[in-house]
């Protein structure tokens, strides 16, 4: 892992202790969040410019539907004249993978966006976005398990140990399952400060996902898409770093 990603992760760990409004642990109960958002004069901002937790909460169902766009698109294509193309399983395995990546990137955008827009309440959208990324990852894995390996555990295991890109994909998926399971408020409370440290694994997952995508494309020697996703990830992560530096 590049040194600068480690730097982001370690500074993420320190963040909780600085006490600035933009860096509260994501697990804070909503009412605390809401009162902060509404608190006048916090960091010297005019109070009216900050979205309240309730306003962001109202937007949540809209975002939920937006996150279902890929599913709607598949149904639309499948029932259309061209169907899902000549090789629907291949199409769906690729499409679920891409959308898992896109949603993960959107999830990672929340923190820099909160700071750049000075809208801490945006945090309330992050868990849902992360879970949607996990949802498409699960579909991606199920697609592979059924269409590529015919539900055979032996076949799946053989694929994992024989092929680097599958192995990398597993390395990214298993921690993601752990993060999804511990995404509830109960687990945030139980894990305390450790929750944030655990969920910093998302950076490693993101890096592994790009690597997985890179290996998938190595056959056609066409790295344009994985490179594009890697660059966007770098920008999202650098956005945090720059902000940190300017504060320090």
């Amino acid at each position: 892992m590049p040194a600068w990603i480690c730097a982001v992760i370690s500074s993420q760990g320190r963040e909780g202790s600085t006490g600035s409004s933009g860096s509260q642990p994501p697990g804070l109960p909503e009412n605390v969040n809401a009162s902060r958002g509404a608190a006048p004069g916090n960091e010297g901002e005019p109070p009216g410019r900050r979205w309240t937790a309730r306003a962001v909460g109202r937007f949540k169902p809209v975002l939920f539907l937006l996150c279902l766009f890929p599913v709607v698109r598949w149904v639309f294509l499948a029932t259309g004249p061209g169907g899902l193309g000549a090789n629907p399983p291949e199409f769906l395995i690729r499409s679920t993978g891409i959308w898992a990546l896109v949603l993960l990137w959107v999830t990672l955008c929340i923190t820099p966006l909160r700071r750049l827009l000075d809208q801490p309440a945006l945090l309330r959208l992050r868990r849902m976005l992360g879970l949607f990324s996990f949802f498409y990852t699960v579909l991606h894995v199920l697609g592979w398990a059924y269409w590529e390996r015919g539900w055979s555990l032996m076949e799946m295991w053989a694929d994992i140990v024989q092929r680097t890109f599958i192995w990398i994909g597993v390395l990214a998926t298993v921690p993601m399952l752990l993060l999804a399971l511990t995404s509830t408020r109960g687990w945030m409370r139980r894990l305390g400060r450790g929750w944030q440290r655990l969920h910093a694994a998302i950076y490693g997952i993101a890096a592994l996902s790009v690597w997985h995508f890179w290996l998938v494309r190595s056959g056609k020697v066409d790295y344009r898409e994985p490179v594009a996703y890697g660059l966007i990830l770098a920008v999202i992560l650098l956005a945090r770093l720059i902000r940190r530096r300017s504060r320090a």
């Binding site: 000549a86 291949e90 015919g150 092929r163 056609k220």
Partner: protein, 320 residues
């Protein structure tokens, strides 16, 4: 004595082209509807397409045809690997229309007694055209069933008479940079070159293909002429061929150069030798229901009876 004269047909009695076309369209729609209802001839529906292409019929050759359900025209012409036009499966259909296929000549030379440059029309008439339904197994673990129109490559090679030195045959694909957006990227050292051993090239199954589903080959499928070597992975069947050469030394094919650990010279379909990035044990039959299981891949793509003897004594794990 007055000779019998063929009566002249008044122009009014000849069906105008548009009417003829619309009749065909109507028939096709009816066939498609019938197929949907489960009553009509599904084969007709599968055949639908390629109206703008001239007919090119071949005499059906049952001895060299399989009975599997044929892949639809739409899938055969819309899901292609022809990297000169881009690496996406839909790229060839999108871009291949710009390739110039007329005039077209094929230079046949190298270790032959009678080197010759053929015009495509002369080449089409060199031997009687046959229709053969072959399995096509792509190295990417998908497969199709395709009714090709052509004649055995051996017919052409016999005309030029390979010398005693000829042991391999190379096939070079056209390179038209203006029409081929894919060649801007050097995935392969263009032009694309494929090769066979002479005995493989002379094998009666090795087909020089000019047509598909009774139509002239669409550009994305390798117009105006390509190979079909059904017991090898699809990439061995070079498309849009401009040069055929008999040579003495084993040539390096394009994929051997681009990815030597992934592709060997022989590339015989072999379920026991996995590709480094995926298994070759099974394949997805294009056109199958989305929930249909994968099909087991057969040694030599099911053509072992005809071709296995050519590889007797060889270690096919080493010579993959």
């Amino acid at each position: 004595m007055s000779r019998f004269r063929i009566p002249r047909i008044p122009a009014a009695e000849i069906t105008p082209h548009e009417v003829w076309l619309s009749r065909r369209r109507w028939l096709r729609q009816a066939a498609a509807l019938g197929a949907l209802a489960g009553t009509g001839p599904a084969a007709l529906a599968a055949r639908a397409g390629g109206d703008s292409l001239p007919d090119l019929e071949g005499r059906p050759n049952a001895r060299f045809s399989i009975m599997d359900k044929q892949t639809s025209w739409r899938d055969i012409t819309g899901y292609n690997n022809f990297y000169e036009f881009g690496t996406d499966k839909e790229d060839p259909r999108r871009h291949a229309g710009r390739m110039v296929t007329e005039p077209w000549t094929v230079e046949v030379g190298g270790e032959v007694l009678k080197p010759r440059t053929f015009d495509i029309d002369a080449l089409r008439r060199l031997a009687p055209l046959e229709e053969r339904v072959y399995r096509l197994r792509c190295v990417e673990a998908w497969s199709m069933v395709i009714p090709w129109v052509g004649y055995p490559l051996s017919e052409l090679l016999r005309q030029v008479q390979p010398t005693g030195n000829a042991r391999y045959v190379t096939f070079e694909t056209a390179l038209q940079p203006d029409a081929m957006p894919g060649v801007k990227r050097r995935i392969i050292d263009w032009p694309y070159v494929e090769a066979l051993r002479l005995d493989e090239a002379m094998h009666p199954l090795t087909l020089l293909v000019f047509g598909l589903y009774g139509k002239v080959l669409p550009n994305q499928n390798g117009a105006p002429l390509r190979l079909a070597v059904p017991w090898k992975y699809g990439f061995k069947s070079g498309k849009s061929i401009v040069r055929i050469r008999c040579v003495e030394e084993m040539p390096y094919s394009s994929w051997m150069v681009a990815a030597p650990t992934e592709y060997g010279f022989y590339a015989n379909v072999n379920p026991d030798v996995p590709h480094p990035r995926w298994s070759q044990a099974t394949e997805r039959r294009i056109g199958d229901h989305i929930l249909a299981p994968r099909v087991k891949t057969r040694m030599f793509n099911g053509y072992g009876e005809q071709v296995a003897s050519m590889y007797a004594g060889m270690d096919l794990r080493r010579d993959f």
